[in-house]
């Protein structure tokens, strides 16, 4: 990924996701998008697709998330490949369609049906959106069997992972983190897909392993810079998909460094960071030379005030501190 800096064609994560959807929709007419106000592209990544593919394949839906997220299941069951645009905060009203149908159907019917659905879930945290609009609940979809959970941290991964998600024959929960949607990276014009379950080492290091997710990755990389200046060599791992999770890359890194910091923007308790900490405590125990450090969002709902919200999330500084703790 170091070429990102050097290459020319830098586009944003939003543009990369848009490009991936556009290319896949051109290739496969079974692919269509459902969501709210997506024809006008209010929320970004679907922008302009209606102009090319029309209102049938880029469908504005009424505010009936449980029905249209459930309709995606039925459409997939009869051979379509729906993409659903939404956000974690709007999925509570649709949990039954997501859990009872999308996640359970294939298994409970003995594998009679494939459900190629991409549920695109935005995370609006960090923008003074307050408690109702700042949900980051992907650990819930890790806990519930049946979803593949994908979380890109940059535009390059975004395009490749979105293509894989659209081609996948299983329900995929695709996380879109608004804190990095505008960040740019080199994205080739050509067609490439990034497999699920393959973590990416964003930065190599030998003293401490930092596993960071989505928008936490750039913060972890900043922390690694700071640590570097202090003579601490941090390895930064981006799982890229949480289901399936590339345990081995994490365990190999910890075997090398002996130290682990897990960073998550979800609430700490029962988070992805907790899960990764648990896995290493089980399977990487003998490599560990210091207590695991788990960072996550504090266990309160997201307050509106700019005086409070920034205190909720891990920062480059708190990540660096956690790494220092593992070193002492």
């Amino acid at each position: 990924m170091t070429q990102v800096q050097t290459e020319t064609r830098d586009i944003t994560l939003t543009q990369a996701l848009n490009e991936a959807m556009r290319e896949e929709m051109r290739k496969d007419e079974r692919v269509f998008i459902m969501g709210e106000d997506i024809q006008s592209g209010v929320y970004g990544a679907s922008g302009g697709l209606a102009a090319e593919f029309g209102p049938e394949r880029v469908r504005d839906c009424p505010l009936s998330e449980n029905a249209f997220m459930g309709a995606a299941v039925g459409a997939a069951a009869v051979g379509m490949r729906p993409i659903v645009e939404s956000a974690f905060c709007f999925m509570w009203v649709a949990m039954d369609s997501l859990v009872s149908q999308a996640a359970k159907m294939r298994y409970m019917f003995g594998g009679q049906v494939n459900l190629p659905i991409v549920y695109r879930a935005s995370l609006y945290y960090g923008g003074s959106m307050a408690a109702h609009h700042s949900d980051r609940s992907y650990p819930i979809f890790m806990h519930i069997p049946g979803f593949k959970v994908v979380f890109p941290s940059n535009a390059y991964d975004g395009k490749g992972l979105m293509k894989t998600a659209i081609r996948e024959d299983d329900p995929v929960l695709f996380c879109e983190d608004r804190t990095i949607l505008g960040s740019r990276a080199f994205v080739p014009e050509d067609d490439y897909a990034i497999p699920l379950g393959v973590a990416d080492i964003k930065r190599e290091g030998s003293d401490v392993t930092i596993v960071a997710i989505g928008g936490m990755v750039p913060r972890a990389l900043d922390a690694a810079e700071t640590l570097d200046r202090e003579g601490v060599s941090a390895e930064v791992i981006d799982p890229r998909s949480l289901v399936p999770l590339d345990k081995q890359t994490i365990l190999d890194s910890v075997a090398k460094t002996g130290r682990l910091v897990t960073v998550d923007m979800a609430h700490k308790t029962c988070s992805a960071a907790s899960e990764i900490a648990a896995i290493v405590a089980m399977e990487g125990f003998w490599s560990l030379q210091a207590p695991v450090q788990r960072l996550g969002t504090v266990n309160v709902h997201i307050p509106f005030s700019t005086a409070l919200e920034p205190l909720c999330y891990p920062t480059a500084e708190s990540i660096a501190d956690a790494a220092r703790t593992t070193m002492s």
Binding site: P62, N66, F109
Partner: protein, 329 residues
């Protein structure tokens, strides 16, 4: 009135098949051969049969927790149905689904949901598929009076209505949700009245009259195929047994009068239709008796098939979660 004799006989055949199947299920539950929850469809046969015979094989249905009748009415394999109820690997779902999750995608049965209202959006999505694929396959979600109080009912009817999707919403109003009368729980007099909120036809039908069900659903299906959008049909019916088999052991207070139960048993759909077949000279008693033995043999065979079938191997536990498997612990 309908003058297709084969069809009229087929109605009786499928209703009887459901009835005898369900009677066998009761025995197997009492014997402990069927475990878990089983909800008897006895008394409601005309609703599923009338509706499903108005459909093509390539049309779609979804069901609910009380759904042994729907797959049989749609033409699902009775052997596989019984095997599924016994948790055998030869069942519709390889024994993973059981009574509340029968499904046979090969004959358009997109599956049953134990969670109320949950499979209504699924059917709407199948109909959306028809619209996007440019075919005229219709989707029929079956659900109860109780389920019509779930938010999914409202959202689904509105969605199907604004998109003019080929859906025939079929509410089986057996007048109770467990112990709760729909008269207390549903604000409108009839559930079909709710169609007004979506500008679609709402039809109240005698659910004990298989021909009436067939005709009402046929009309709605014709509209749907013609691209004129969805309809809501309420089949007013009755379940003879308790909410789920064995539940009477724990339901303390009686929630319906014996007279009421008796009254409805007098309107048994199978007897009503048999009388009609005889009176119209469509079938002789001899032919009806032959039908009885034909069905009896089928149910015996299904039971044998289910009993002889193997249970799933332990290795099946981790199969079927994903089309593209991942490591699972």
């Amino acid at each position: 009135m309908l003058d297709n004799n084969d069809l009229l006989m087929e109605m009786q055949r499928r209703m009887l098949r459901i009835r005898r199947f369900e009677e066998r299920v009761i025995q197997l539950v009492e014997r402990g051969e069927i475990v878990g929850a089983a909800h008897s469809y006895i008394g409601e046969e005309a609703v599923a049969v009338g509706a499903c015979l108005a459909l093509r094989d390539d049309d779609w249905i979804t069901g609910n927790h009380r759904s042994h009748g729907h797959p049989i009415a749609k033409g699902g394999d009775v052997n596989k149905a019984m095997a599924e109820l016994l948790g055998k690997s030869t069942g519709f779902c390889k024994g993973k689904g059981g009574s509340m999750h029968l499904a046979d995608f090969s004959v358009g049965i997109l599956g049953e949901s134990g969670i109320l209202g949950s499979s209504i959006p699924t059917a709407v999505g199948a109909a959306l598929g028809s619209q996007l694929q440019g075919n005229d396959r219709v989707a029929v979600p079956f659900f109860g009076d109780g389920a019509s109080n779930e938010g999914a009912f409202h959202e689904s009817l509105n969605l199907a209505a604004i998109w003019k999707l080929p859906v025939v919403f079929l509410c089986e109003n057996n007048q109770y949700a467990v112990t709760s009368s729909f008269k207390k729980m549903v604000a409108s007099e009839n559930i079909s009245d709710r169609a007004a909120a979506y500008n679609i036809p709402g039809v109240l039908v005698d659910g004990q009259d298989v021909i009436a069900m067939y005709e009402a659903v046929s009309e709605a299906v014709a509209r749907a195929r013609a691209g004129e959008g969805p309809a809501l049909i309420e089949g007013r019916t009755y379940r003879y047994f308790d909410h789920s088999l064995g539940l009477n052991r724990i339901v303390r207070d009686p929630y319906r009068e014996d007279e009421e139960v008796e009254h409805w048993k007098q309107r048994d759909p199978i007897i009503i239709h048999a009388k009609l077949l005889l009176s119209q000279g469509i079938a002789t008693q001899v032919e009806l008796d032959a039908l009885e033995s034909e069905i009896a043999a089928q149910i015996d065979e299904a039971t044998e098939f289910a009993r002889q079938s193997p249970y799933p191997e332990p290795s099946a536990l981790f199969e079927d979660m994903f089309a593209n498997p991942i490591p699972l612990e």
